[in-house]
Subunit: 194 residues, 2 copies
DNA sequence: GTCTATATCGCGATAGAC
DNA sequence: GTCTATCGCGATATAGAC
């Protein structure tokens, strides 16, 4: 692995462990066993490291969020998308922990974030809408229900993990499944039972 | 106002604006127009200031979270509780933005947080349960539904505000009402219509 | 590409005068 | 209770040898 990539791996680990504020460029270099000067050869500063980690996360999102194009999507597919989203958020958990501060500190990063996030939400919205069209879900006439359901599912997929972290319990796979159950609870009253 | 209280007010404002990490004790003293030495007379360090701010938030929660004892609670009461919760979270918005890092850094604070949070969740659970008992809500036989609904309502009341912040739009009262609507969306399928 | 050495800066914290 | 002065430390960042 290239030095640049090893810097990113180490930074990600340290950021997840104790946060970007307490982890200095010196810490990263020392944990990796290289000199501070060497690190500065690869990245101009800590901000650039953070940007690069965000871009890696964005790329993973774009890979994992897609659905099978050859058949109609099922509720299983929705679960799978949310499960994958949880997994990535866990791997990059420093991101959501510090998101507001990080975006405030870096306008360029903020623009990128808003773009990628909007794409992600549109995907969720289209998915729920497709379920309605396919008869998997039956919604009431009120046209406000669909957007609200999409927002709720999105909110859960973004914040379930931080919610568990705040509770103080160590994260485990059962927590992930519980988050899936909460998401399904929101949709359950509208699921057309066979 | 005492100097101690003015320090807390200034620290709260600065923490909300740019986060605890970038705000030093020097910054707080300078913004307030006192000397760094004076600040250290009132607080041993920044950690103590943060603890004091958390305690102020806890006290406000305990005040605002109670329901009228002289009559059965209504869905209006639930909305009011959540609305008040949003207001406090906005006033102390640095808390949720940095919660995981702050609790990790201060074990004492973490214990206090878990205590207060558990009380708050129990209140929500009891409230939803009371609605079922009073016939305002009718739930299916599945005993897992009640706890899931309580968790969802709780999740929304905790994370709706951070969710709006992350979206990049400036906060406004309409966002608060939209958060209320999302919470009601979760309960709506179970509300007994007259 | 990687190292060592170093310059500059600001933070946290304390001592002691008033 | 509030101030000034100051010390020690660690972080960011760069220069220049290898």
């Amino acid at each position: 692995m290239s030095t640049r990539e090893r810097i990113l791996e180490t930074a990600l680990r340290l950021f997840n462990e104790t946060g970007t504020a307490t982890v200095s460029t010196n810490h990263i270099a020392q944990a990796l066993g290289i000199s501070p000067g060497n690190l500065y050869y690869h990245f101009r500063n800590k901000e650039e490291i953070i940007r690069a980690l965000f871009e890696r996360l964005f790329a993973l999102w774009d890979e994992g969020g897609s659905l099978p194009a050859d058949r109609p999507a099922t509720l299983e597919d929705l679960q799978q998308v949310v499960r994958e989203s949880y997994r990535l958020l866990w791997e990059y958990r420093f991101v959501y922990r510090e998101l507001v501060a990080l975006l405030r500190h870096d306008e360029h990063l903020r623009q990128r974030w808003l773009e990628v996030r909007a794409r992600g939400f549109d995907g969720f919205y289209a998915l729920i809408d497709a379920f309605v069209a396919a008869g998997v879900l039956r919604l009431p006439d009120d046209p406000a229900v669909l957007p609200r359901l999409a927002e709720l599912v999105w909110l859960i997929s973004e914040f379930w993990l931080p919610s568990v972290e705040v509770s103080g319990e160590p994260m485990n796979p059962a927590h992930m499944e519980h988050g899936i159950a909460l998401m399904l609870q929101v949709l359950d009253p509208y699921i057309v039972k066979p």
